[in-house]
Symmetry: C2
Subunit: 473 residues, 2 copies
């Protein structure tokens, strides 16, 4: 596109949204053309900030008419570069942050309608005001936006009980690549009237259209909560304990997080005020949470009696069960600060993988063995949502000075890790998506049939390839 | 297709599956070319019964090469004619009933892999053998098959707690319209690697491919169960009670069924041994079930105390809480026999609709009023999964002799009912699907944008329109 065409499009967009909502200077665009980790740096023709669905539709129509590609963007907290424009400087970043209204709450239906630009924390707060729970919970919840949560099918710590973003969504409103609006904002628990179109847009990373609003599921608020920190012999025991606690506690089991001793160690070293929950921490720990909508549920009693047999049998080496909400928060902080502590320690090669839950121990054993063979002395920081079979598996050299040489071997490291994941029937991206980061890996690991099916859908729905090109596929 | 081409295809199919598994005589084909309610009668070139996925793939390749359309068929228990061939006599019915193995169970992962031809009851039994629950539960569970449950996204009485078939599925194996096999049999709780293709095939009624196997979710077995029958003033109270019981009992609430007095009356009249659960039954009742994975949960106590305030406030007029598993079954039988009792009473115009849960009372009030204006004295039998906003809303004349004239007005009746459903943001097919029965209604009620999106997907994935043509779209 020529500079004149470019200026004409920017003028059209300004006429739609108002001049102050079209950003063109390098300074104004800067936060929108790179990811927050600073790994991806793109260029954009402009950043446009429509204020409602009609404006999004008009913006998309204008870009479509001009043949200009669009990059939908939410809170820009993604980890795979999915919301960052390419290098060409021709793409228009469509920021959804001004679509930030909670349109309605239906307490009887246990649903709310949120616009794409609502932060996750704003949705949680709106639910809480109606004595309901919106259960999605992520480290970035203060700044990530619902549209991005939908586009990446976000996960987090409570998937075990409540499901991913996909399972939390009943309906969508989407602006299609040609600017038409699909109104699929139905708040129905049962609707069998044809293809479930919303499923295509959830997890599509903005490559099929721009989500502008969603009907989200709400749940009863948990009024009782108990957390335990368990020292365990190893990952195999974790999986046995998961089955045991599921049977003993049913749906009350709302988090089941595995934490390697190496991860806890980093938190204790780098996070002020963090203290070890047990006198002897050992190589592996679990953080287990029970919650109940009854305010007087004796969860500590239930958990205590479920753990008694396990302590006796040696499947649990030591345990602390929270006795106050303050202690609940303190134990959770140990888990939540792992990423921050790792960051302070230096760079690492990160993986976000999943396997069938029963294969978690095999993955850890096989990956550790294969990696230590090629990289003796490697520091492996492994933690995550073991109850979902989802691990964050991060690798670095113990001496930060050795890290650049190690990072240079990312390709080889990934091949080792992902080959093992795939041999166990797993996924190379459990909850972060593909974006730019894993696009080549996706082609490597998906079957031809599956890639071709995805391409068929992409071509059918976005024949001009204007929606977030260069991402995912 | 000429008779000779036809014979050539039949010979090719026989070479693939064996001659005894290609049915061609009218007698052999009869059970496969009409639906069990006897509403739809089609004709088929033949019925082919492949024995495994490779044979399904070869059968589809042969049909694809010959340009012959296919009708995938499971237990043929559908209610909308989705599994019945058209009138032309050219289509091949592909019966999946020989693909009836449970391929594997993974108790740690809480999953099993079932082939499409497994009956629902066989899947339930396999789960129970591993001390797990597969929660889908339907009237036809003894004969319906998993492939059909998937193709129609089946619902039933426990959707409130466990979700529809869609939510119970982690992975699929599908034979595509050209015979290629897509292996999406992943048993992962988290997998964000591109478009979630399985979602397209679930609920597509066989129009995009033939599902041959699925990875299904299992749950802890409920070891405690309590059921209550409540007499209530009306539907509005039901919705208030739903919110109250959700807060008081959380996920233990596993069924919430609304039953009009007219429905109970039919059961008491036609079903031998059925007896009224309460001395004074009134116009409306609820059947409420609580279940818990703990064997010693005091559910009767929990439910009793949750109901005390409601009895006092007059939101519950009378109540019986089960005191034994025999009584649980007896109360459930009253609900489950409504369809059978209705059948004995004579034909009726049936609807399977849903609205947002809070709109259930408005739907019942508005539909009753509108219908009684045009059809004075009409018998309205309304019951269903009120906890999901899903009602079965069936209409007949009190004197069976008047029914034929009434049935002749089905179009007008449907218009009244569906217009109200749509005005409340509801669905004209909550759990039965579209098939042949509601194909024209779908075009009437879906937006142009939505129909066009569905057509785009259909054209992209089945460009020759060989998969169950004439159904759904």
């Amino acid at each position: 596109m020529s500079g004149a065409d470019n200026q004409a499009l920017i003028a059209r967009l300004a006429a739609i949204v108002g001049g102050s909502y079209v950003l063109t200077s390098d300074n104004d665009c800067a936060p929108h053309v790179q990811d927050w980790r600073g790994r991806y740096h793109g260029k954009a023709a402009c950043v446009v900030r429509p204020g409602n669905t009609d404006e999004v539709s008009a913006v998309v129509r204008a870009c479509y008419a001009a043949g200009v590609a669009m990059v939908p963007q939410g809170g820009n907290t993604g980890l795979v570069g999915g919301g960052v424009p390419g290098q060409g400087g021709q793409e228009v970043v469509v920021s959804l942050s001004r679509l930030n209204r909670i349109r309605s709450i239906d307490a009887h239906n246990n649903t709310l309608i949120a616009e794409a630009g609502c932060t996750l924390v704003a949705v949680q707060a709106a639910a809480a005001e109606s004595q309901r729970l919106f259960p999605l919970s992520l480290a970035s919840e203060g700044s990530c936006q619902i549209g991005g949560n939908l586009a990446t099918n976000a996960g987090g710590v409570h998937v075990l009980r409540y499901g991913n973003m996909r399972e939390l969504t009943l309906g969508l409103e989407v602006v299609l690549p040609d600017g038409q609006v699909w109104d699929g904002l139905r708040g129905l628990r049962k609707d069998n009237t044809g293809y479930d179109l919303k499923q295509l847009f959830i997890g599509a990373e903005g490559t099929l259209g721009i989500i502008t609003a969603a009907v989200l599921k709400l749940f009863p608020q948990p009024l009782s909560r108990t957390v335990a920190w368990l020292s365990i012999p190893g990952p195999a025991t974790a999986i046995e304990l998961l089955a045991h606690l599921r049977n003993a506690c049913g749906e009350r089991l709302s988090a089941f997080e595995l934490i390697a001793g190496s991860a806890l160690e980093l938190v204790l070293r780098h996070i002020p005020g963090a203290r070890s929950p047990l006198t002897r921490c050992g190589d592996w720990a679990l953080l287990v949470e029970l919650s109940d909508s009854a305010s007087n549920a004796d969860l500590a009693g239930l958990l205590g009696s479920a753990l008694a047999s396990e302590l006796e049998a040696g499947r649990v080496l030591d345990a602390v069960v929270s006795s106050s909400e303050a202690q609940v928060r303190e134990l959770w902080a140990l888990r939540e600060n792992i990423s921050e502590a790792q960051k302070r320690e230096g760079i690492s090669i990160k993986h976000d993988v999943s396997v069938p839950v029963g294969a978690v121990p095999a993955f850890i054993e096989q990956a550790d063995m294969a990696l230590r063979k090629f990289f003796p002395g490697l520091r492996i920081v492994c933690f995550g949502h073991a109850g979902d079979g989802n691990l964050h598996y991060n690798l670095s050299q113990p001496d930060a000075a050795d890290n650049p040489a190690f990072i240079a071997q990312t390709r080889e490291v990934n091949r080792i890790v992902y080959d093992i994941v795939m041999s166990l029937g797993g996924s190379i991206s459990a909850e972060h998506g593909i974006g730019i980061l894993k696009r080549e890996e996706l082609k490597h690991y998906k079957s031809f049939v599956e890639i071709e099916l995805m391409q068929q859908i992409k071509r059918a729905m976005d024949p001009e390839n204007l929606m977030n090109p260069g991402k995912l596929l």
